[in-house]
Amino acid sequence: MKSDNSSGKSGCSCSIGTARSDRRSFLKGLSIAAAAGSAALATGCVPSVEAAAPEKMKLRWQEFFKDNYRLMTQEEKEATIARLERLAKLQDDLDIQMSSDPPIDRVLYGYAFNISRCEGFMECVSACVRENNLDRKTNTQYIRIFEMEPGKLDPSTGDGRYYHKVPVENKFYMGTQCFHCENAPCTKACPTKATWMEPDGIVVVDYDWCIGCRYCQAACPYYGRRFNWGKPEIPKDEVTTRQHYLGNRIRPKGKMEKCTFCIQRTRAGRLPACVEACPTGSRVFGNLLDPESEIRFVLKHKKVFRMKEELGTEPKFWYFID
């Protein structure tokens, strides 16, 4: 951040004069120069404490010209995280800790949902909303729980809007969310390559490269993705401050978002918030590449099925029966 500032000032004329053929690097230099110039104008070339507004502007300029997450070097990732943390402080007065934890070696996450244990208490949904800084105004939820008639296995036949004492006799409950397909159709639909599958199997979105076209939402056969029509509105004391760049950081307006298996938690060895909140133990999470893991036990010993298996999307999310 500091080195950018000094190079911007000195490069005010030279970055244009010695412009390399690359359009992006030219624009980048120009933007930094412009931001530094305007900062110098506003403060009269003397750095002062009241430089907060120009600082915000400069950070936002630099944010605007950053790369796709997958193309960033480690230094660039750290720089953008530092900028986002500072911007959260300047704009919303929030002290957040953002990470860019990489995937863990030899880990592929898998998830299983016990449809004979779930009793529809929806603790998972409210835990997810809190953990992932979801918009309280529009009541965005990544998880849906359907109250199902016996014998039906398609959630579209179930009631996703129930609010009465649960469990109801002779009904069962089925949860859906992003299934993190191994052969995900949503990532192929994205025109800006803003969504992809990470090596540990988590399908993520680079919120700053998403243009909000919602092609991925149309491509997803499971209704796993959500579009935000505005920046999430969250009571300040309920904001989860431990965030991940690809996870629960507060999304800008007009972006696609979805379940990330709580990437900020799972990459630190913790369970996703929904699993931790489930009072019935219906949710099983673990490493598919570990033959001794809980998820592998379920796959080996239980009757499992996946939703719309015939589509060949290979979800890493199984339903099972006791």
Partner: protein, 202 residues
């Protein structure tokens, strides 16, 4: 002769290549996963926050692997039981306070409902006991529960029933039976959901 052999070899390799490609579209990533025999040491995952709740090493193992369970004794308000359950006489006016009036026993099928001493040891008050007369520690109540609920116990050992505490990596710590189930009334009570869902916006 050598030429013919070479031709055959080429033909064979070519066919194998085609067959391999054809088969690739039919295979699933799961086949590769199932082939993995090498164990993954989840305790080697870095920066895992240890579980802060009180745990104890379980007396059972899963596939020769030890694991820990949450303790139960620290959750029981008036443990040790032998503090009260002595040979000393109790004054009548203390009776209401000292008997377990708050416990409503709802465990076992209709007509086969359990009584206190089906699980609690009648002599050694700080322990449970099983039908063989073995003393069982409150922290290891899964040893007792598993006598009837053996299917659940098998699933619990493997991870299909119950769940891990806080972490998927690190040392395996799982919820004890009585961490989730009230042993006197093990079924979960009916209640309103924690939240509700808005209609789908499509």
């Amino acid at each position: 002769m050598q030429k013919i052999l070479l031709m055959y070899a080429c033909l064979f390799l070519g066919l194998a290549g085609v067959a391999g490609q054809g088969g690739a579209s039919e295979t699933s990533f799961l086949d590769e996963i199932k082939d993995i025999q090498e164990n993954f040491d989840s305790r080697a995952v870095e920066n895992v926050r240890p579980v802060t709740r009180e745990t104890v090493l379980a007396k059972d193992q899963f596939n020769g692997r030890p694991f820990r369970v949450l303790t139960r004794k620290n959750e029981i308000n008036r443990f040790k039981c032998s503090n009260c359950h002595t040979d000393k006489a109790v004054a009548v006016n203390q009776g209401v306070e000292l008997t377990h009036g708050s416990i409503s026993l709802n465990h076992g099928r209709e007509g086969q409902a359990l009584a206190c001493i089906d699980c609690h040891h009648p002599e050694e008050r700080d322990y449970l006991w099983d039908k063989k007369g073995e003393k069982i520690d409150f922290d290891h109540s899964y040893q007792l529960c598993g006598h009837c609920h053996f299917r659940q116990k098998r699933d619990w050992l493997g991870g299909a029933h119950g769940k891990r505490v806080a972490n998927w990596a690190g040392e395996r710590v799982i919820y004890n039976c009585a961490s989730c189930h009230d042993p006197h009334s093990p079924r979960f009570e009916k209640r309103y959901p924690a939240t509700y869902s808005p209609p789908l916006d499509r």
